[in-house]
Amino acid sequence: MLMTAMEFAQFPVLSAILFSTILALLVILFIPDDRPKLIKQVSLGFAAVGLVLCLYVYFAYDTQKGGLQFVERFLWVKSLGIYHFLAVDGINVPMLFLTAVVLFTGVLTMWELEKRVKEYFALTYLLVAGVYGVFMSMDLFFIFVWYDVSLFPMYPLIAIWGSTRKEYGAMKLTLYLLAGSALILPGILYLWAVAGGNTFDLFELQRIGFDVHVQRIAFLMLYLGFGILAGVWPFHTWSPVGHVAAPTAVSMIHAGVLMKLGAYGILRVGMTLCPDGLVYWADLMALLATVGIVYGAFVGLAQTDLKYVIGYSSVSHMGIVGLGLATMTVDGINGAVFQMFSHGVMTALFFSAVGYIYDKTHTKMIPDLGGLSKTMPKASAFFIIAAFCGIGVPCMSSFWAELLVFISAVKTYPIRGILAVSGLVVSALFMLRVVQKTFYGEKNPKWEHIPDVPLFLASPRIILVGILVFFGLFPRLILDVIQSAVIPFVNSL
């Protein structure tokens, strides 16, 4: 009791992170349209505040103690048992850090934006508020609310600032994701109703221990609902289309962070509340994940649009997350969460690198490019580093993540595990092919006059590369955090 009282007495860091984004949104709305520079500076400032706070949470989180920390909890709607309940454990902490990094680098990446600047940054902050909200809420009602809040700004963000077939992509993405939430809400409400209809608190519900039959139904709904956002095959088709259509930073946030919401939702809501349902459906999860890994790699092989390539590699990489979760082992889930983090950073780097190339050449078709490493070596380097990370080269953070997942996958599901590993070989092939065609080979004279990326614009990519390499060299620093939540979680299964 004393402990909780002390925790309440602390500064509410999580609320501060969450409400700083809403404050940013309001501040941006009140800046006049004709001061785009100021809007960008304010956005960057708030993103930096968020980054600092998330870093603080990351380092202040006590991995020895584990469990929920930075708890804030009070009653919101009495008659239904809805709580404003913010807390983090080892799984949320890296996700918050990831969100802050991608937001910060995303704002920097869009520094040269000229069209409807105010609305763009306001919507971005709305989107990020939703993401933060999901990653720190421990109440099912608020998880769902923030989840939906993070989805609908995608429509205007893609439809207004996007490129290739933007209206189609935006509509498809929005409807798919909302169809996903059409399964999540009944799933959540079903569990709530079965539990007696008086609490949405995740951990109170967990203690109830639902009937096996209930768990199977609810888990399937939650898995499919969140799975759509996680890009689970065969519900992934919105993802390449949406990523291609979206503007650079939105692709970064979306592929980097938003898709993780889906995987996080499966883990936090589905697997926590329905462990028996997980056991029942794990086979299916592993199967869909493996198909996703292999399918993503093969389809990626046939793409000619750089962003489609990244889109399909995301499908493939998110399959690895799904496979890790399906193993139900400490290593597998550790790897899955680590992969969520490193894939987030890596995809952000990918899209950020392509964003610069596209801004300058106005094309992202691989055959039109070629030999870029000679005209803009720095800009090319970022893409190539991201590609290496995607392949899983050692010293990159995703190497460790993929290693952990595959080791436990081969143990748990030998055939699917081996298939997935071979899928990785194909994905190496297609990544290298893209790198070779785009950055080496015949130089296209059309792009010779293009300047290389200046230092300021390169800064977001440098940060992202730095994080990838840092956690590649010191994976313990993040695995300790993740593990502090995963070990008790797996033991409770």
Binding site: W76, K78, L80, V149, A159, L178, W192
Partner: protein, 473 residues
């Protein structure tokens, strides 16, 4: 004598009707002055209704019950009327010589609906319902240069008359079965009689009269034509205030069975699924925004019915909350329509093009209202859907909730088309600028704040709607 204070809101609207009746006798019409009078009177009416919320008691030989449920709906009706009158400043949709009559009928209709929500005796209910219907029958064909839209007035009358014939037939069954016309008595007797088909048939036929008002499938056929054919302000009134009374009455009559009739529940489930699916699917292809909102209202009648058919306190409370949310969101949409089409023509979706530049405030109001109707958080529409679905799942209607959610996704498609028009499309030709006066500005801001505030802090409003249904028999 004290008893008459219970009747204050109704008496006030009688007085308001009288004022405009005198106004209609004058030879010369000054629309500006009539408008100012109407706003002032409707504003006072709202204050009076709010002030009378806590009254309780019976009137007229117990055929008229004043309690929190009825008073809550009276506030909603008064609020709807006030809203509608506020946006009548440019009443070009109606012949200037008929403005006084228009306000007169509006006041009478409001009075009738207030009586309807309080009436607890079958004949009183029927008379109140007819009074409100006839005022609406008259208002629909009042449209300026109505030749093209005369059809809708006739259609409304014909369908309405049929529905009311069905209803009075149903009422006669109920009377025949229970030997009483008092609802309080009926609620005691009727649950024991529900095994007899006649009782269920009587109840369903009675409900048909209110379903007609709510535009629930298959009693919806008037809605798109009437929404399109009536003047924008009249449509707004039909779409907001008049839905409140209908919702209240459906809750009251479904409540008569106290959840005893499996057949009735199944029928309501079917009607609600059909209504949601039909409304949403047909809305997709609409070009005229009022027609689109008509079909969306058919769908929303279905959502609201989900809450009602649970037949639990929480279900009714969720329906009451949903009705309140619907009033605000739907009015916000119509306000934008009225302001953009201020010469009173029927607004097409493509005419909204570039609204975000022509009037950012109206565009934002429209976007929030549409997201609210689609059930996207953090608007009050989301909370409404959430409560309705939560109540349904407490009764175990998982499949119904999934169908409802899928429908919400479908509805998002056409709401997004409208939002796209307002935020993305460039106008193909020069549209007249949108004039937004100070009052509209204030009204928009109030609506935006209300939509978000009630969505984020629903606690007090949920408690209020639960208290309102707690007094139901």
């Amino acid at each position: 004598m004290m008893k008459w204070t219970l009747f204050t809101p109704e008496l006030f609207y009688v007085a308001m009707a009288a004022v405009f009746f005198v106004g209609s006798l004058q030879r010369r019409v000054d629309s500006r002055r009539l408008y100012r009078w109407a706003v002032a009177l409707a504003g006072v009416g709202l204050v009076v209704s709010v002030a009378c919320t806590r009254l309780e008691g019976f009137l007229f030989f117990d055929s008229y019950k004043v309690d929190l449920f009825s008073q809550f709906f009276k506030v909603l009706i008064a609020l709807g009327t006030f809203f509608v009158i506020l946006v009548c400043s440019e009443l070009h949709g109606i012949d200037p010589r008929k403005h006084a009559e228009f306000y007169f009928l509006l006041a009478v209709c409001t009075l009738a609906m207030m009586m309807l929500v309080s009436a607890v005796e079958l004949l009183t209910i029927y008379i109140a319902l007819e009074l409100s219907s006839y005022s609406l029958y008259l208002m629909v064909p009042m449209r300026h240069r109505a030749d093209r839209y005369v059809e809708s007035g006739i259609k409304y009358f014909m369908v309405g008359a049929t529905a009311s014939a069905m209803m009075i037939f149903g009422l006669s069954y109920l009377f025949g079965m229970t030997h009483t016309t008092y609802v309080a008595e009926m609620v005691r007797v009727l649950p024991g009689l529900l095994h007899q088909p006649a009782a269920v048939v009587g109840l369903v036929l009675t409900l048909a009269g209110f379903f007609f008002k709510q535009a629930l499938f298959p009693f919806h056929i008037w809605a798109p034509d009437v929404y399109q054919g009536a003047a924008n302000q009249v449509t707004t009134y039909i779409a907001t205030a008049s839905k409140m009374a209908a919702a209240a009455m459906v809750i009251r009559f479904v409540g008569l069975t106290t959840g005893q009739s499996e057949a009735l529940i199944q029928l309501l489930v079917v009607l609600s699924v059909l209504s949601m699916t039909f409304g949403n699917l047909v809305a997709i292809i609409q070009k005229d925004i009022k027609r689109l909102l008509a079909y969306s209202s058919i769908a929303h009648a279905g959502y609201m019915l989900i809450g009602i058919l649970c037949m639990t306190q929480r279900g009714y409370a969720s329906a009451v909350y949903y009705a309140m949310a619907y009033l605000i969101m739907n009015f916000a949409c119509f306000m934008v329509v009225i302001k953009v089409a201020d010469d009173g023509h029927n607004l097409q979706i493509k005419e909204l093009a570039g609204l975000h530049k022509r009037s950012p405030l109206l565009a934002m109001t429209l976007m929030l209202a549409l997201f609210g109707l689609a059930g996207i958080p953090p608007t009050l529409g989301f909370t409404g859907k959430f409560l309705v679905f939560a109540a349904a799942l407490e009764k175990g209607y998982l499949l119904l909730v999934i169908i409802g959610m899928i429908n919400a996704t479908i509805s998002l498609y056409y709401y997004l088309i409208v939002i796209k028009a307002a935020y993305l499309l460039e106008p193909v030709r020069e549209y007249p600028p949108v004039r937004v006066d100070t009052w509209t500005r204030i009204l928009s801001i109030v609506l935006v704040i209300a939509m978000i505030y009630v969505g984020i802090f629903p606690d007090r409003f949920v408690a209020l709607s639960e208290a309102a249904v707690a007094v139901l028999p």
